[in-house]
Structures are given as structure tokens and as C-alpha cells.
């Protein structure tokens, strides 16, 4: 079996937000505009959280990319009344957009607050419409969405391997955020495969889970060498 997972090395992250832009472009995430963003409706599947330490002028900023943790025991799943979000056999918390009726219960029960909602129908004014990714559906208004681990890329990687009559090799499938990271802080692969890069990163002594004491068994592992293991309050 496969369990897709991601490891993020916080010591390499510079907070440049290239991953955020790549994610939006890859996944047809709507841009809501200044006014809506001010109301707290910016739709980022992946965000860079910034935490500051120390007093000015000796301030240090820490960055943490936060995305759907693809939990093994996901709090969002049991509360959905219509099975619009469920756990697929490869360890993804999948979203079925056509099934979602917009109760937003899943988002309330997500301890990482990573789910985003389409408050209005998506608009892609020209020329944005010409750069929509044909492999990803555009979500209608009233529907919840979140990071999919670029499920369309996973599918494409599996298709390609099947055509070449081989197994998917480690590194075949790269998520948009991983691909765009200039410091190679993100790696992606199969956590069940002990030889994959992501498995090796996950076994690092620097590895930890975000809000680990909730035991949601995330598919995302963070690495940090500092004593700072949890985001500051």
C-alpha cells in the first residue's frame, strides 16, 4: 500500500512564498480580491505562518508552511454529513466537490484551520482564464476545498508508470509546492516505502508533527533543529 506523505524542513524555509503562488496556479484556486481578503476570505491551500521571536531590533522570524496535514485520523471526516470528505486508500483526505453542500462543519473541526471555502462562485477574468489547469476542476460557490497533495499529479504519475509497465518510483511525483521551492525544503513521496526520501526525512531526529498531541496522525512531517517545535503563541 501507499501512504502519500510530505516532509518540510523548516530550517531550509526562507518564507519566500513561491510554494503559495505555485499552489494557486496549479490548483485553479480563485483569487478573491483585496476586499474579500481583508474579511478573512483569502483562499490559500498552503500558507506561510510567520512567528516572531525576541524584541526589536533583535527579532528573529520563523516561517512555517501550513497546509492540509492529510491526517490519518482526520477530525474533518466524521463530521461531514454527506461524505464529501473521506479518507482514500492512499492516505489522502479527499474532497468530493460535487457532494459538498457547504455546512462548513469540517472546517470548524480542523485543528490546523487549513480548509478554505468558496464564498462566491469563482471568477477568472481574462487572461487568468487561459492559464487554468485543465486537470483540476474549478469549484463552484458554496463548496469547501483544501490541499489535495496535487492529486492530479499523483494520478498522472501513476498513469505514466502504468504505461511504461513499471512501479511509481520515488521522486516521480512532485507536488507544485515542492517543485517551486528554491531551497528544496519540501519533499514528497510514499511514507510506506522505507527507502523513499520522505520516509528518511520523517525518521530524522529533527522530525515532529504539528499539534502532535492531538494524535491526528498527520501525513505531513516537519523538521526543525531548534528547540522551537511548536508555533509560538
Amino acid at each position: 500500500m501507499t501512504r502519500w506523505g510530505m516532509a518540510i524542513d523548516l530550517d531550509r524555509c526562507t518564507g519566500c512564498e513561491a510554494c503559495v503562488v505555485a499552489c494557486a496556479a496549479e490548483n485553479n484556486i480563485q483569487t478573491v480580491g483585496e476586499e474579500q481578503a481583508r474579511e478573512g476570505r483569502a483562499m490559500h491551500w498552503l500558507r506561510i505562518e510567520r512567528y516572531y521571536e525576541g524584541e526589536f531590533p533583535n527579532v528573529r522570524t520563523r516561517f512555517m508552511p501550513v497546509l492540509c496535514q492529510q491526517c490519518g485520523a482526520a477530525p474533518c471526516e466524521p463530521v461531514c454529513p454527506v461524505y464529501a470528505t473521506y479518507r482514500n486508500p492512499e492516505g489522502l483526505n479527499a474532497m468530493v466537490y460535487s457532494r459538498c453542500i457547504g455546512t462548513r462543519f469540517c472546517a470548524n473541526n480542523c485543528p490546523y484551520t487549513v480548509r478554505v471555502f468558496n464564498w462566491f462562485d469563482a471568477e477568472f477574468p481574462a487572461p487568468l482564464d487561459s492559464q487554468l489547469n485543465p486537470d483540476v476542476s474549478v469549484r463552484p460557490g458554496g463548496v469547501m476545498e483544501k490541499c489535495t497533495f496535487c492529486v492530479q499529479r499523483i494520478q498522472a504519475g501513476k498513469d505514466e508508470a502504468a504505461q511504461e509497465e513499471r512501479d511509481v518510483a520515488d521522486g516521480d511525483i512532485r507536488t507544485a509546492c515542492q517543485q517551486s521551492c528554491p531551497t528544496k525544503a519540501i519533499t514528497f513521496g510514499d511514507l510506506e516505502d522505507p527507502d523513499s526520501e520522505v520516509s528518511k526525512w520523517a525518521e530524522s531526529p529533527r522530525a515532529f508533527s504539528l499539534l502532535g498531541d492531538l494524535d491526528t496522525r498527520p501525513g505531513v512531517v516537519y523538521l526543525s533543529g531548534s528547540e522551537w517545535r511548536e508555533p509560538a503563541e
Binding site: G40, I101, G102, N109, P111, W119
Partner: protein, 466 residues
Amino acid sequence: MTAESQPSAAALDGQLLGRLDRRRPGLLVGSLASGALALVFIYCWGYQIANGIGVTGINRPVFWGFYIINFVFWIGISHAGTLISAILRVTKAEWRRPVTRSAEAITLFALAIGGLFPLIHLGRVAIFYYMIPYPNSRMLWPNFRSPLVWDIAAITTYIIGSALYLFLPLIPDAAVMRDRAAAGLRKRFYAVLALGWRGTAQQWHSLEWGIRILAVVIIPVAVSVHTIVSWDFAMTQTPGWKSTIFGPYFVVGAIFSGIAVLMIAMALLRRGLALERFLTDRVFNNLGLLFVTMSLVWGYFTFAEHLTVWYSGDLFEKNVHHVLLHGDFAVPFWTMVVVNLVIPVAVLSFARGRRPLPTALVGCGVLVGMWLERFLIVVPALSTPRLAYSIGDYMPSWVELGIMIGAVGVFACLYFTFTQLLPIVSVWEMREGWRHGGSDEAGGATSDAAATSGTAAAPVPGGGGA
């Protein structure tokens, strides 16, 4: 009581039913005003459906807002009736007789409105039926692990049960109305409602058994409904929501706000329909005692909830607790404590405070307080998520306010229509009270004492023709 205080059946009918034959200008004005508010409700909901749920003020992280608050609030109000009237019926409290009908009507209408709010709240209301288990070609079922699906089952059961519970005791009165009405549309309407009631011994027997069974069955249903509403919150792992006390806490709060609205409705009906003879000071005194008891129980639950959260020292729980007690939400929080606990206890502890006007005013305060309680459950917990980066804020939009105020209009509209069409005090139950002899003066000045002492016993009424 003495024989001369016992009106004849005809006089009683005249007093309780006669007003239905006349047009009362006050009620007409009320109906029109509430009708206008109901139009606001319809407009705002239509506007939201046409433009998208984004016309509200909800956002990330406050995904639930006024709609859910009002949902819990109205479901709470619905406990006015069925539960209270059922408890009073089961315990055979004589002073229930003038109260039950108005309470049961509140239940049904409040429930209808409360049940609408989760639908108004949906992102895609057109496909709300995905939550209902219906046979379909894709063999898809709703997720029975979700408290929202439990909600649907509970509320549907409750709405059917409370409609029956309102309707059954209404049958003999509808028959009286049918017999009094001149031939025409009105008569046909009452004839349908009366279900061919002839008042035979067999019919009375069936009716009484039906009511008796429903009164017992509806109590656990009512308790379960508000418990399940609380589980929409308590089943999550969200700090501020995850709490084992929420089930009973919500039930107590619901009964508390239910009594509040009942006190207001009764004071208004007493004045508006000149029912002083039936809704006596005694009735207000008894309900007032129940009211202050619920206030104290509510206060105890609130204290227990907040003490355990504070004592736990859990970081995320304490963040929520802090904004509630000392932070952004301190003003509504302490207002809630004053209107829900301090004022009711201060006023209702004294017999003079348990008269119609003061109890109704306390009731208004409690309605505000219980609305605030639901606000303080929904918003602070969501706006204070675990990851500090996502801390947010919430301000309702005009659409949410319009729907909230409009819903009051819809409720009043339904209620006014009901009081215009049907007797808001159960005529046959009042008559039965007199027939039981001695123990009742207009629904019970001395009822309890008489019932317990058993002897009391002014001999059977003389009043004509009962």
C-alpha cells in the same frame, strides 16, 4: 370555589371563543407588522441564494455565525411548549390548563423557524437533501457519524411529534368552532381540523389516551433534540466546544429560554385577549417559581463549565476562556450573566416579582441573555483557533441581521394567525377543570392545595348544562 364563580359552559365558550368571531384591530396591526417583517426574511434569504453565501459576514476561521446562533436559539425557544406543557400534563398540574395550548403553538412555530436556519446556513441549499437518507441510483447514504445527520433525525421527529401534540387537544375545540361557524369556508376549515369529532365517549377515551401517550413520549424527544444540538459543538475537538457538560447545559438553557418566551406570550395574551380570568396571577406565580429555578440551574451549569475549563490549564482552552471573560467578548459575557442570573433571581425571588409585568420583562432579558449565550458559544471558540496565525474576527452583514429580525416576524405572523383562527386557551380542558370540581377557579387559584389535600371539595358545580 363557590358556585357563583363557576360560569356555565355556554358562558365559557362565549368568553374564550367569542373573541375569535370579532376582528380585533390590535391583532390586525400586529399581523400586518409581522407580515412585513416576514417579507424582509424572504427577501434577504432570496438575496443570499441569488448571490452566494458570501453576502454574510462569516469567514475563515469563523465559519459559523448568526445562522447557527439563531438555529440554537429558536430550537431552545421551542422547548417552551411541548416540554413544559408535557411535564405539566404528566404531573397533572391543574394550573396548566390555560397555558398548554399557547405553549404548544410556540413550540411548533419556533421549531419550524429553527429548522430553517441550518438550511439558510448551507453553502448550497439547493442540494440540502443530500443529508437525508433517500434511495438513489448511486447507492449513496448520508454519513451517520455526523452530528448534523443526527440533528435532522431529531428535529424531524420533534416537529412531527409537537405538531401532533398541538393538534390532538385541538380536535374538540375545532369541533366547537365548526358547530359555531356559519356555513362557508370557515366552517369547512374547522370541519377538516375536527376530523369528524362528535364527542362520543369512545372518542373522548381515545383522545385522552392519545394525549397521555404523546405527553410522555414527547419529553425524551425534546430532551434529545437539544442534547443533539449541543453535540454539533461538543463532538468536535475545538477548544471551547469540546465539553461533556454541553448536553444537559443546552437542555437547561433551552427550557430556560422556553419559559422566558412563554412568560412574555402569556402576559401579552392576557392583556391582548382579556384573559385575566383564565391566566390568573396564580399561574404567573407558579411559572415564575419554575423560571427562577431554571435560572439558578443555568447559573450552576455555567459556573461548572467555566471553572473546569479554567482549572484545566489547557493552553488552547484557556485562550478561548480568556477572550470570553476578560477579552473581546467580556461585555456580552457579563451582560449575559446579569440578565440570565442576577436579575431573574433578584426579581423572581419575591412574590411581587412573579406578577405578569415583571415576569414578562425578566423574560425579555433572559431571551437576550440566552441569545448572547449561543453567540458566546459559537463565535469566540471559532475566532480563537489553535494556530495563532489564523485568529479572526466576525461581524454579521445586513443579510444576516435581516434574516434574524425577519424570522421574528415570521414567528409572530404564524402566531397571530393561529390566535385569530383557533382558541389559544383550550376550551374543553378548561371545562374539564371545572367539572373536576371545586379545585379550580379559572384554572386553579387553589388547585394544588386542593389536589393534594384531596378533600377540598366544594361540591360539584352548579353552573348550567355542563
